[in-house]
Each structure stands twice: as C-alpha cells, then as structure tokens.
Symmetry: C2
Subunit: 454 residues, 2 copies
C-alpha cells in the first residue's frame, strides 16, 4: 500500500472541507486506538465525510493513489477491526448520522439510517414511531449502524429477532472503485440478483464502505417482565432455556451467568444480595403487548428451577439486570481482561463451561475466569483476568477447545486483526479461497481495510 | 461453452453409476421443460448424483471440459432458471433427499436437509419433532430445499418468519472448481468471515451447487384461526393489514385478493358463495400455542372492515383458504396465464392494483387481469389471461410501472432466463458490475447456470 502524500491530504480537504480532515496526532489518536486499549496504531489523516457522495470521492482519490482505508464507526469493536494499525487513512462515518422523520415508514415498520447513527438513536426513532429496533447491546450509545453491519452485531435479543443481518433490508455503500450502490427501497420480497446487503453484513469493512441502511423494525412491546432463575448446574439452566424458548413467544433475552460473577459484581459495585441464591443463573426477559408475567409464571412452573424472582416495574427490572450487565464493569475493575467471544453448540455448552475454566487455569494458574453469555444462542463471553490481555496462550488453548467442540471462534465480535491467526480453525481452505476470491473481485487493489479478516 | 463429449458422459456414468445418467430424450424431456410449459430446452444428459462427493466429482469433470451445468431441484420454478435452454448438462439434486432423524436438533430447533428434500418433507420432519418450518408455499410437495435456496423462496408466511435466507443457518455446497464448502454447525452467532449461505440464497445456481442446508425451525403452533375479511377498497385492506400486523404477533398470513378472482374460483371450481361479500378481501391466519381467536377478534374490532367470517376447525379453515389458494387452478383453467410476480412499496400498492389493470387492458384489450398476493409484503402476483404467455409487451409495460413506483420486478420467482432482459430496470450498472465480479470470482469459466440471472 502506498503512503498518503501531501497531495492526497489536500485532495481530501477539498472534498470534505479542511475542518473534516484531521491530521494532528493529538486529535487523531483517539481514532487510532481501539476500545480495549490493547490495539494502538497511527494514521496520517482521519477523514470525516458528510455525505455518501463525499465518501465516494474520498474512496476514489485513495483508490487512485493506492492508499489503504480503514472505515470506522463508533470504534467500539473488540478485535481491532476498525483502527489504523498499518498507517491507513481512517474514514470516519460518524457524521452520516441522519435518521430523518421522513425516512421512518410507520406502516411498513422500517427506517433508513445513516451509517453513523448510533444504535440508541435508531431505537429511539423507532420507538417514537410505535416500533422498536430488534438488535440491542451494551455499546448502544456509541456503536453505529455502519459498525453493526460491518460486524453483523448480535447482542442480547438474537433469540427473538436475529442478528443485524436479519434487520438489514438494504444498504447504500461505496465500492472500492468509488462507485455507489444504493438499494434502500425496503421491499420485503425482492429477488433480483445477489443479496449484497447480506454479503456486506459481517464483512468488517473489507468489501464496501456502508453509508446508510434500510432497517426492519419490530413491534414495540412495552409490557415487560424480568425473572432471575437459579439452577444447580448449567445443563439444568440450558434445558430450562430451551423449554422457555419453545413455549414463550415473548421471550426476548435469556442471559446465562454464574455465582462467582455475581459475587464479583456485588463486591465491586456494592449491590445487595440477589433475591435468588444459586450456582448458575438465567436472567430472562419477556415483552408483549399484554402483560407477559402470567405466561412466564406458567412456563416457569413447568421447568426444573431452584428459585425464581420476578420483576415487573422498571426499577426492579433494572435491579435484576444489574447482576448481569454489571459484569463488564466489575471485571474491568479487577482487569484488564483478556476477552474471548465464542459460540458452542447447545449440547456442548455445559461441558465447555467447566472444561474452559480448567483449561485456562492449566495454562495460566494465577488467572481467574469469568463466564457469561446468551444461553439460547450458545454465545459465551470468556473473560480472563490475572493475565496479560495480549496473552495468546489463552486464545490458542480456548479457541482450539471451541473448535474441537464444534463451536465458532467469533460469535459476534468478528475476526478483525486480533483473531486472524485463528480463522483457519473455523474455515476450510475452500472457504477461505472463496472469501479471498470475493474480496479480490470487489476490491482488486485491496484498499478497503486490507489488514483485517483474511 | 463446450459440447459434452461421449467421454464426458462415460466419466459421469463412472461417477454416479450408469443408471443415474439419463440420456434418452424421452426420459430427459421432463427435466428440460419448465413448470409453466413455456420454456423448453434439451440436454445431452441428466446426472443424478447420490452424495455431495458425487456432485463434486461431476462438477469437476464438467469444469475440466468446460461444459455448462444447470442445477435442478423440483423444477417448479417459473422463470426458466433451472432448465437446459442452451444444451447444458442437468445436475439433478433430487436424490439428495435425506433428512435423517439424527439431523434434527430438538433443543436448538434446527435440522439438516439434503438439497433434494422437499419443503413438505422438511415441514413434516420439523413437526414430528415439535417444531415447524417457517417457509411454505403451494409447491411444497415438489419444490426442494436446494431450489428454495437458489431462488430464496418466500411464500405466504414471510411477514412472520422471513424468507428462505432467514432460515438458512449454513449450507454445504460444491463450488465451480469442484471444491466443497460445508458449514452445517447451525451456530446462531458465528461471525467468521463472509456469509456464503446468504450469498448463495437467491443466486439461482450461478455461484455454487447447494447439496445440503442447516435450517432454523420455528415453534410448532397448532392453535389456529382463519378469518376472511371484506373491504370496499385496497387501501382500506392495507391499513387493516398494517394494524393487524402491529397488534397480532400470531399473524402468519395476510393474503390479498379481489371479487373478480373469487367469482372465477367459484365458477371454475363450483365453490359456494363466500361468507363475506366484498370488493377486496384479506384472508388472515393466526397461529399460537393458545387459541388465537380471541386476540384476532379483539384486533378486528379495532379496524375498519365491512365484514368478517371466522373459521377455527380445520375443515372450515380450509374452506376459507380455497377462495385464495384455488386462484391458480381457476386461472389456469381459463389460461394459460402470463404470470408476473412483483413487489410494491406499501404506499404504492393500492394505486398499482388499479393502474396495472388499466395499463394491461390498454396494451392487450382482450386480456383479463387477475391479482392476488401477500398484503404485508407488498408482493402482488399479476396473472394475465387472454394473451400469449410469452407476450413481452405485458412485461415491458408492467415491469416499467413497477419500477416507476419503487417496486421490484421479481418478488420471489427470481430472474432466471425469463426476466433477464428487465434486470437493469431494478439494478444499477454499479450493482450489476459488482454481481458480475462476484460471479466471475467464484465461477471464472462460467459453467454454473451460465444463461440465467446476469
């Protein structure tokens, strides 16, 4: 890849305006370090276009000079997929944050959002129109639509609404030659060739720069109930989860966590004891148009559970959620953690939970392992403290175990730079060859995020 | 493309066994004519492999000799996307019809099916395990999993469960060089590179030969209610549909049709008068774990409707469905029809219904126009009788009207050979260039279904 010239910087300034090309290292620094703090690069320029046409022009001049680009949204990624580790130009999409009222189709339940709009702003616009956005996770206030598409973000509601790919009806995107594809009509049935939105979802900025998306919304359901369920062991919790999933259409979340995590959260954040004391917990939330509490109570009656607490009013619901959501903050307080994000098949998840603890302890005897995740999806977040966050002995051991059990080495964070080395564990040479062929077809010069994924 | 040699035929026989290479024109004829009867070709050989390894070997020898292949499933397509119109070898996947009990994951709600399994057999296996398959349409007994992936089949339940792409968690497929990609683990969160299953869905056999798929199932819901609702005009029906969609999570189908279609069905199939007499009809079906009739009745109370009939027991439900499902048979009886399958944005659908009738009448004054479709998806099936099924004046006029109104020229049938000429109406040069680049990347010789789509 070519090194950006002064001429390129000047051209970028003429496209987006001088104030939107940042070159002062003190200013660009925050764009060059990832959320974890573990991955730090540098960039000759952060370019902040204000329209799809400006994005196209930026890509065109970079392509013309063979200069690599890293597209960046809210920079909340955890695998170094959006930071300039090899001196790339950063193309920040944050100014494309429009969700205008005219773009909300109330009858169809859809809206069009700019790539830089945050997930929270999409949800707010949807809710104002009587709908909701199906994808939600903790970084909602910073993470952007574009980033969520690049990583095919999942989050806590995948069991009900699917991942980001399932919400994206169309995208507007700039290809590597600066041409623009735009398919934002939001038609639910539209089989006119290859589905580029699905291909772009999860491609981590390597195939196109997404500038906007047409998103499907879900009905807004304000009647909610949260329940904390206690179990003796993981298998019991998973069987309960499978049973609830089948008989409760209103089930929206089923978070799995453990007594040690709850103790850490209590210790670090001074929470009261949970209303249920158990070795393994499921936190479930149901949402419906009518009060879902009776249906949940009926469903819980038919499962094997050692204790259950129910919360209906918002403050009580939030109090129960804190035992799960505060895991990240509590772990960071004793951290910084080495974070892995993996998926196991349902029938391997219980054994994996105990085996992974033993395995990590054997690799790093002084470490501590914290597990939590989405029970219905098999998505387990493995956080390890007491080791260097960059200690790849942990990845080597854990990711091999995951693959041996039929799992995925990346549930929802993606591959980025951080996990590239392990991608062949999950993908055959035939699959990698096909992916490389697609990458080369759409970006023959390799200017779009060339150092991630493949 | 090369013409198949006797040597190739011999090699194919050695791969799949002599009885599975059909060359007698009297036998191959049914593989060379499409469902509509309008598109008729010829093939030097129909090859019927019995395993993925055999498919791979077949593709390899054809690729080695530069011979084109048309993959074929149940051959129920309507756009000549699966028939050998240019003398291609037909690769029939029908023998790959396995859905073994071991492949059904009852806890996760998933199964693995061979490409040749019919949609009805998938649904039956799912239902036997306490689940159901989300995609359903009239050709269920013949249409196959592979064909449904090739065309990204939609059908009547898209409003609740999405299209085929939304069900496909993974595929096993043979690429154009004979290599096999297999990703059938069924993990719900698995972000490890480009999502090939989504790309293959809707690619009409041009990128890979799908040999099997991991399919997500939906909860089996046996409590059902069907209601026939009558309206004065289309807009009133669409507003009712939007309202029902928002307040009835159990809504599974919302079929739109018209008084003239009902009259034709009654005339051709000797049905009794419908219990509701109206200009425009919606047939809605709700399914839940508990009786959905009270919720439907409550919802219907709040919409503007001129008449409603409700059916709960299976025979009565079927009797109401006949007014809609018998449209195809009744139209064929006065046909053969010229069939178009288009999608309109919700806010254009009502005007389109009247405009398209006037437009077709102006193009072909002696024709009759029959409309029906899926109200919530905006998918309208435009059937025209009294003209030649190949009369492209109809396509020229109707498809231009569709595009002028922001619609799609192919809702769920695909492009195939029949609609290739009009694809640029819906897809920009940048999109077509990107699609061609992907096609060339994965099939550089152009041996997989080279005459369809692009």
């Amino acid at each position: 890849m070519a090194i950006p010239s002064q001429r390129l910087i000047d051209e970028l300034r003429s496209i987006v305006g001088p104030s939107h090309v940042l070159t002062d290292p003190a200013v660009t620094e925050s764009y060059a370090i990832d959320w974890t703090g573990r991955f730090r690069g540098a960039t000759p320029a952060v370019v902040r276009p204000g329209s799809t046409a400006e994005v196209a022009a930026v890509v065109r001049v970079c392509a013309g000079q063979g200069v690599a680009i890293v597209p960046q949204g809210g920079n909340t990624g955890l695998v170094a997929g959006g930071v300039p580790l090899a001196g790339e130009v950063v193309l920040s999409l944050r100014r494309l944050d429009t969700i205008d009222a005219a773009s909300v189709d109330v009858a169809a339940g859809q809206l069009t959002a700019g790539a830089g709009a945050t997930i929270a702003s999409v949800a707010a616009a949807a809710r104002a129109a009587g709908w909701d956005y199906g994808v939600d996770w903790a970084a909602r206030d910073t993470a952007t639509v574009g980033g969520s598409i690049a990583t095919n973000a999942g989050g806590v509601r995948v069991l009900r609404y699917g991942d980001t790919r399932a919400q994206v009806l169309g995208v507007e995107a700039v290809l590597a030659d600066g041409s623009v594809v735009s398919h934002l009509g939001g038609l639910l049935k539209d089989n006119t060739g290859y589905h580029l939105p699905s291909l772009v979802c999860g491609s981590e900025g390597t195939l196109a720069v997404v500038t906007g998306a047409r998103l499907a919304l879900v009905p807004r359901r304000d009647e909610r109930v949260v329940s904390l369920l206690g179990f003796r062991h993981v298998q019991q919790a998973l069987e309960a989860c499978a049973s609830l999933r089948r008989c409760l259409p209103s089930l929206e979340a089923a978070e799995l966590f453990f007594a040690d995590g709850v103790a850490l959260v209590r210790e670090q954040l001074a929470l009261p004891p949970p209303p249920v004391v158990a070795s393994v917990y499921l936190l479930v939330e149901c949402a419906d148009h009518v009060d879902p509490a009776p249906a949940l109570a009926h469903a819980v009656d038919s499962i094997d559970v050692d204790g259950a607490a129910v919360a209906v009013d918002p403050a009580q619901r939030k109090a129960l959620w804190r035992y799960r959501e505060d895991h990240t903050e509590a772990i960071n307080a004793v951290g910084p953690p080495h974070k892995l994000d993996v998926t196991l098949p349902q029938d391997e998840l219980a054994a994996f939970c105990s085996d992974v603890r033993a395995l990590i302890t054997s690799v790093a005897p002084s470490s501590q392992v914290w597990l939590f995740g989405q029970a219905a999806d098999g998505n387990l977040h493995v956080n390890v403290t007491g080791v260097e966050p960059g200690d790849e002995r942990i990845d080597d051991a854990v990711l091999q175990l995951v693959v041996d059990r039929g799992g995925s080495i990346s549930a929802e964070h993606g591959i980025g730079t951080a996990k590239k080395r392990w991608l062949p564990l999950n993908r055959s040479e035939a699959e990698l060859t096909a992916m490389r062929a697609i990458k080369h077809a759409l970006d023959p010069q390799g200017i779009l995020n060339p150092n991630v994924l493949l």
